[in-house]
């Protein structure tokens, strides 16, 4: 008999907000020394009250729109009670009764084709803190920085059949969420619980289901699914063990799963609506506003860039990061040529980053500065090589392009008046060469040209110097 795996995913994604979900502490769990991003509210001090960060609701709605969900008109926060030292209130605020989004779908493509995965719901919740075990002193310390960092949990239907589909799904969510500024999806910012059962192919009834908790690396998830599927197969086909419905833990070093708790000892979370947070009513207006202000999708950006004449390769590179698109859009909006802009971002910035051992994703540059450099080059104020030099200073010394050019004397050469002054000075200083040239010795032109370039400390635009020299010489003929 052939068996198939039935896999469902619960994916937790940390949202890219400036502040936590119920207080004004900064978001971004990974940043800061332990317990420096914490306040009485997220530390659960007596008397504190949560206040919902609207941005969290909007990002959850955004995710719902991308995954073709129905957005709930009425959504509530509920308390999930359990004791753990990293949970300061001994309850987590999550959504149990009325999640913000339901009934969505997403298409995933693997080498075996494209399939549609159903999304049961998306809900918002707060993250817990972190325990730090110190084996040396045998103590456990709590870091509350991550407490109350906003998460969405995307609950899929049990529609996956292979680990490949799961991988494709997670990669797609990652790209989608990064591109829509929903999440930065950094290492650890996306965590998964995987539900697995197996059944004979062609049957409907589900087998005994196990859940593997809290995995954050794609390779662990793949290996865990493969291991767990094989374990189920062995149990069913060869009777190696009796499967029970339970929660398991993946051990990446040992490469196997271990039982954590079964159905009988499962916690009773005593969900009930949090009376401190009023139900959120989501009207059509709000949904429309979220939809209208949503950053363009990868597909929309691709079409837009095609119309601007960018190559497929350029488009692929730019759309790999929302930030690159934003930079490109800002620079072109400031009037720079699209092809040039793509070239400056991808070739010039990319080259400089590589030289410094960095990747495109780490590019941080103010669009005004990049635009100014391009303007200087296209306006022949500086040549491209000098432009590259300025760009490097902008990227790594936070230099101002104009100030940098001035300080390094890069600005005179393209300034026609300034260059003309230099030309006149050289002509006046070397009357013999002028005479020779006017007398027909064309070679003297090279001497005059060299004199000008020397005066300009090598930063002159050869074309400009040549033109001005010819102009001034013709006046003296």
């Amino acid at each position: 008999m052939r068996y198939e795996a039935v896999i469902g995913l619960e994916t937790h994604v940390e949202l890219a907000t400036n502040s936590k979900i119920f207080c004004s502490c900064g978001g971004h769990s990974t940043k800061g020394e332990p317990n420096t991003r914490v306040c009485p509210a997220c530390a659960g001090m007596p008397g504190m009250l949560p206040v919902t960060n609207r941005r969290v609701v909007e990002l959850a709605m955004r995710a719902g729109i991308l995954l073709h969900c129905d957005i709930s008109r009425y959504t509530t926060f509920d308390k999930k009670s359990y004791y753990y030292p990293d949970l300061p209130c001994a309850y987590q605020i999550t959504q149990w009764f009325h999640p913000v989004c339901r009934n969505g779908s997403v298409e995933v493509t693997t080498k075996d084709g494209t399939r549609t995965i159903g999304i049961k719901q998306i809900h918002m919740e707060e993250d817990a803190g972190k325990l730090v075990h110190d084996d040396w002193t045998e103590t456990t310390l709590v870091d509350f920085n991550r407490t109350s960092v906003p998460l969405i949990e995307i609950v899929s239907k049990p529609d996956f059949r292979t680990a490949d589909e799961v991988m494709a799904y997670l990669e797609k969510l990652k790209t989608m969420f990064r591109f829509a500024n929903i999440s930065e999806c950094e290492e650890g910012a996306m965590r998964c619980d995987v539900n697995i059962s197996i059944r004979p192919e062609g049957t409907e009834e589900l087998g005994v289901r196990t859940e593997i908790k809290n995995m954050s690396s794609l390779s662990s998830i793949r290996r865990a699914i493969q291991y767990e599927t094989a374990r189920h197969l062995d149990a069913v086909e060869r009777g190696t063990e009796t499967l029970v419905q339970e929660t398991r833990r993946w051990d990446d070093v040992k490469g196997r799963t271990f039982s954590m708790r079964n159905k009988e000892t499962a916690a009773d979370y005593r969900y009930f609506p949090d009376p401190n947070l009023m139900p959120i009513l989501i009207g059509e207006d709000w949904i429309r506003r979220v939809r209208d202000t949503m950053p363009a999708s990868i597909e929309e950006k691709t079409a837009e860039y095609q119309s601007k004449g960018l190559s497929e390769k350029e488009i692929a590179s730019l759309t790999s990061e929302r930030a690159l698109c934003d930079l490109f859009d800002a620079v072109t909006a400031a009037g720079r040529d699209p092809k040039e802009a793509a070239s400056w971002i991808l070739t010039e910035c990319g080259g400089i980053l590589r030289k410094h051992g960095q990747v495109m994703g780490e590019l941080r540059v103010a669009p005004e500065k990049l635009s100014r450099i391009m303007e200087k080059v296209s306006g022949n104020e500086i040549n491209r090589a000098a432009g590259r030099k300025v760009l490097e200073a902008v990227l790594y010394e936070d230099a101002d392009p104009d100030a940098y050019c001035k300080a390094h004397n890069l600005s005179a050469q393209g300034d026609a008046d300034a260059v003309r002054q230099v030309v006149l000075k050289v002509l006046d200083a070397t009357p013999n060469a002028v005479k020779d040239y006017l007398g027909g010795k064309k070679k003297a032109f090279q001497a005059l040209f060299g004199g000008c370039m020397k005066e300009l400390k090598g930063n002159g635009d050869p074309q400009v110097i040549r033109t001005l020299l010819e102009e001034e010489l013709s006046k003296r003929s």
Binding site: A43, M45, P46, P50, V51, V142, D268, R270, M278
Partner: protein, 493 residues
Amino acid sequence: MDILDLTAVELGERIRKRELSALEALEAVYGACRARDRNWNAYAAFEIDPARTAAQRAQALLDSGEAVSPLAGVPVGIKDNLNVRNCLTTCASKILRGYRAPFDATAVRKLKDAGAVPAGTLNMDEFAMGSTSETSCYGPVRNPWDRERVPGGSSGGAAAAVAARECVCALGSDTGGSVRQPASYCGVTGFKPSYGRVSRYGLIAYGSSLDQIGPLARDVRDCAALLDIIAGPDPMDATSIPFPDTRFLDALNGDIHGLRVGVPEECFGDGVEQDVQTGVEAFLDELKRVGAELVPLRLPFLRYAVPVYYILATAEASSNLARFDGVKYGFRAERYTTIEDLYTRTRSEGFGKEVQRRILLGTFVLSSGYYDAYYNKALKMKQMIMDGFAEAFRRCDVIALPVSPTTAPALGSSLSDPLKMYLSDIFTVPVNLAGLPGLSVPCGFDRRGLPIGAQLLGASGADATVLNAGYAYQLATDWHKRRPEGLEVSGNV
């Protein structure tokens, strides 16, 4: 005349006229507490240094002309469950012994901003759970009208301190009657505002959907003056409601001509002590005499209020009190093995019996399989009670009823029979379930000389109407001016 016999508004006037200073007013309160509080045990703690600092700050505000509140310079006692920055805030519980609040409750901050002086923390039932103020880890509070009787609860320390002239006025909290019932037992005036009127930020929660901070004072004017300071929407409390701005003290005119006073028949008769009934009926007669119109009402849903209340309040409490686990602050059991053991021992040793009882009740009603039968059903009943009141307020402007079916019981007589104690909350808990404003005013004494309280309720947001009705009553009577005898004498014992 002793300055502690003045009302808060009168004291504020004298301070503004420079007849005495904020510091002198504070020292008078502190002196009375030191001299006499061993008789009543109304205070949980009185940290004089921060109070003096606040008084000096208030005086500076007064001198610069910046403090314009009628209560600038007036000391205000604070129930031990309201956060006062850097001061002990313990909910009268061993589990929070020594805990100092890292921030001011919004109500406390507003007091300070208005130039009022938070002065001393007032004893209470542990975590505001109780109707007698006997469950405090600091020992029971006694009733200034009779030392062998309870002052009511849970804001018993606040009511006793106001009655015993150990404080001028106070902030309490009311989850199921915890301001109104002790006010009634101690012969002072207490007001529970509409739910959402006063920010709960910084109030250590018992039942979040029911809790409301409210004033206890000598009379309605003082309550209105305090409410003026502490009321108003707060971005830190998502359940605070932006009611139209009202100046409560200014709104008191004592004119209740044509005011329709609903009289629910369920609240008079069986189960209500004869003296209480007589007292409240006299209260109704007086309202009628000064111009109100009495409207007979039936509120059959009231009989569901106690069970609904004890499901919702304990469910919320079980969650709100879960954070006291010995990990971060407060008490931690000395000996433990595992983390589970740390939790179990800390909570078993740190919480008193009544608190543990309510946590267990609340945990039970939220348990999987029982949620629909209890909590969910109670939520529906709560809505039914709200609708029932809304319907009643179409026929009347305020509703009058007793605060409690009895006057203050003897010390020790309630805790042995918790069910009986819960049932005595019958007239106060429906008000919290419906989020209504409720006022308790003294309206006479029983044959043992114990104060009787009458209660006035209004629709949500109609706080000013309720206060004005109480004010009209106090203009016509002087029950609220009576003081227990022998306060000074017993102070010298």
